[in-house]
């Protein structure tokens, strides 16, 4: 097991190296002089020289790269051109806003998606199966911005049950410890604030959960159908084991590996910032942050944003790979 983990972690280094080179090169993909483009047409030569120096563009390529990686390793993600603030400090709260939204959305997606898939496979070719599959098809086909707008129209505007945008009410002032507001409010005993935060997260997380939920349901169903045909499931039934246990113990564990893969990919995608959802719901997340940086041509922020998203994606897949070995004992020995 240890050897597997070490091998799998060593495999990260080439990926992270490639990623850093790509992200670093973004600045060179800009046609013309990056400093000029950042500052606009009417910039003075002095100002351009200033920015070039600030970005290190007057140094040779490899020195720039090593400086860049060296800075990354000390946690320095550069300085925002727009705000002049440290990118790391600005990015962190946005990242955690997205993390919180993703965790809630994925919890909904996994719980409903996996169970719907199981029921669908268990009751294969019945009305329940068809119903789940129709919902799953609608789920994957529905544009998330449309779903978000409909949710707002129905639950915020017409029914006034839930707030339509933002992370909290204007008057709610959460004291950030972890920046995950649900946890912050709970550990500080601010139950009124917790309720407010919870009410705000429902609509965006449901909108965000829909597509992963549908994909997870479809994968779970097909994987379960395969497994339920296998000989060892017949063996379990021949032992007189209850149907529920055959399905949730014997079948699910065997069917779960492709489901985990999909969950990992979907979680990575959501963490990368769901720009549409975050924009519609005014969620101050990573997607919005990167989007605003693109609008402002704030290249250091774009670079760091992409780097953080890609790194998260790689690490989520690492976790999924390690979980494979927990689920399937055969993987350790290969």
């Amino acid at each position: 097991m240890t050897a597997y983990i070490i091998r799998r972690i060593l495999m990260l280094f080439p990926v992270l190296f490639g990623m850093s080179v790509l992200v670093f090169s973004i600045i060179y993909l800009i046609p013309g002089n990056p400093a000029q483009i950042m500052l606009g047409q009417r910039a003075t030569p002095e100002a351009i020289a200033e920015v070039e120096k600030q970005l290190g563009l007057d140094q040779p390529f490899y020195i720039q790269y090593f400086d860049y990686v060296g800075n990354l390793l000390t946690g320095d993600l550069g300085t925002s051109i727009k705000t002049k603030g440290a990118v790391a400090a600005e990015l962190f709260p946005h990242l955690l806003a997205t993390v919180e939204l993703t965790i809630v959305a994925m919890t909904i997606a996994i719980f409903i998606g996996v169970n719907a898939g199981i029921i669908s496979a268990w009751l294969h070719n019945t009305i329940a199966d068809y119903a789940v599959m129709v919902f799953a098809l609608v789920g994957v086909s529905m544009p998330v911005f449309w779903l978000g707008l409909m949710e707002q129209y129905i639950f915020a505007v017409e029914l006034s049950w839930l707030p339509s945008t933002s992370r909290t009410n204007a008057l709610t002032d959460v004291n950030p410890i972890t920046h995950l507001y649900l946890i912050d409010t709970l550990i500080q005993g601010e139950y009124a604030q917790f309720k407010d935060v919870l009410r705000h997260i429902i609509l965006p997380s449901v909108a965000l959960a829909t597509i992963p939920m549908a994909i997870i349901a479809r994968i779970t169903r097909s994987s379960m159908l395969d497994v339920m045909k296998s000989d060892y499931i017949r063996t379990a039934r021949a032992k007189g084991v209850k149907g529920f246990i055959v399905v949730y113990k014997h079948s699910l564990r065997n069917a779960v590996i492709p489901v985990m893969t999909v969950i990992g990919l979907q979680a990575g995608l959501l963490l990368g910032g769901a720009i549409l959802t975050e924009t519609i719901f005014g969620w101050p997340g990573l997607g919005r942050y990167i989007y605003d940086a693109i609008q402002a041509r704030d290249y250091p922020v774009i670079q760091s944003g992409i780097l953080v998203v890609a790194t998260i994606f790689v690490f989520i897949n690492l976790i999924v790979d390690l979980l494979y070995a927990v689920v399937d004992p055969r993987i350790k020995y290969n």
């Binding site: 060892y232 017949r234 063996t235 379990a236 065997n254 004992p329």
Partner: protein, 330 residues
């Protein structure tokens, strides 16, 4: 006095309902097995042996499968109309089954120990420790070495022969009255086959358990069985004790099967095989199902379906018009 029937199957009919209509996989099958007896059910692939055994276990996938007629009596209790709950109580407890493919019949993600104790924990009131003790005891009974260590191993760490022994140990966990073995040695190599067959014979003697041995291999039948039922295309075509069937086979199909066994003393260039293939279930609507492949077939064989006729020896039946003495006189 003869012992009571542990399991008796009367007129069993199991069909699969497909888009092309009803396909009768098992059509009017009778057999029985007594305490301490080994019954062989023999036939080629596709003759309905496995469907018969799955019907007894109540494990026919439905839909599309369904038992459409007949009776399955376990100690006199009808299993065809038993509730799923009742069947679950019987499965693994009173009637156990082992399967053809030891490589895929064990769940790859659970330890041998987990899988062994499961049947016991499901059916009997025992704690985990007692269950593990019993598992070790059964593993020793089936000749598995270093049983305690094996409990924490996973199936992929075991050889095919060892896995089949684990399957047998698993089937024995609750001391079943009837053990159905569906081609238990087919996937194993020859030396391991011998060991497993010897083991089954020993267990039968030691535990006085009824065994139904499903096989396509008459060699297996000769080695372990007391009586034999020959099936062809969903029907029983011949039934007798083992000695009789080898000495005096009556049905042309049985004769063909026997002739197909290669004999090392014969110096022939080509081995004998019955011409043709088993017909697809439901494809023959009229007459004896073996008639198209039978060298003795005459007009009547293509018109009418023969019944099981008594042969001169006691308890020897065969489904062939050649044995219909009244018919011959007509």
């Amino acid at each position: 006095m003869l012992k009571e029937y542990e399991l008796q199957v009367k007129g069993l009919r199991t069909s699969f309902f497909t888009d092309d209509g009803e396909v009768p996989a098992v059509d009017d099958v009778d057999f029985y097995v007594r305490e301490g007896e080994i019954l062989g059910i023999v036939g080629e692939s596709g003759c309905g042996k496995s469907v018969t055994s799955l019907s007894v276990m109540g494990l026919i996938p439905k839909p599309p499968g369904k038992i459409v007629g007949g009776e399955i009596l376990f100690k006199g209790e009808d299993l065809v109309h038993a509730s799923e709950k009742r069947m679950r109580k019987l499965r693994g407890n009173d009637i156990a089954m082992i399967f053809q493919e030891p490589m895929t019949s064990l769940n790859p993600l659970f330890t041998i120990g987990d899988q062994l104790v499961e049947a016991l924990l499901t059916h009997k009131k025992v704690n985990k420790k007692q269950a593990r003790q019993k598992a070790v005891e059964k593993m020793k009974l089936v000749g598995l070495p270093r049983a305690e260590e094996l409990l924490d191993d996973y199936p992929h760490q075991l050889s095919g022969g060892m896995r089949q022994r684990v399957m047998i140990a698993m089937a024995l966990m609750c001391d079943p009255k009837v053990l159905i073995a569906d081609e238990p040695t087919t996937a194993l190599d020859v030396t391991i086959q011998k060991q497993i067959l010897k083991l089954m014979r020993e267990l039968n003697k030691k535990l006085n358990m009824a065994i139904i041995m499903i096989t396509h291999d008459l060699g297996v039948v000769a080695e372990v069985c007391d009586r034999v039922t020959v099936m062809y295309s969903g029907k029983v075509v011949e039934e007798s004790d083992v000695k009789t069937i080898f000495k005096n086979p009556q049905h042309p199909y049985t004769k063909g099967l026997l002739a197909s066994i290669p004999d090392i003393r014969d110096k022939v260039d080509t081995l004998y095989s019955i011409p043709g293939n088993v017909p697809k279930p439901g494809s023959i609507k009229r007459g004896c199902r073996f008639a198209p492949r039978c060298q003795f077939a005459f007009d009547r064989c293509f018109e009418e379906d023969p019944e099981l006729y008594e042969v001169s020896e006691p308890n020897h039946l065969a489904r062939c018009f050649l044995l219909d003495e009244e018919g011959e006189q007509q």
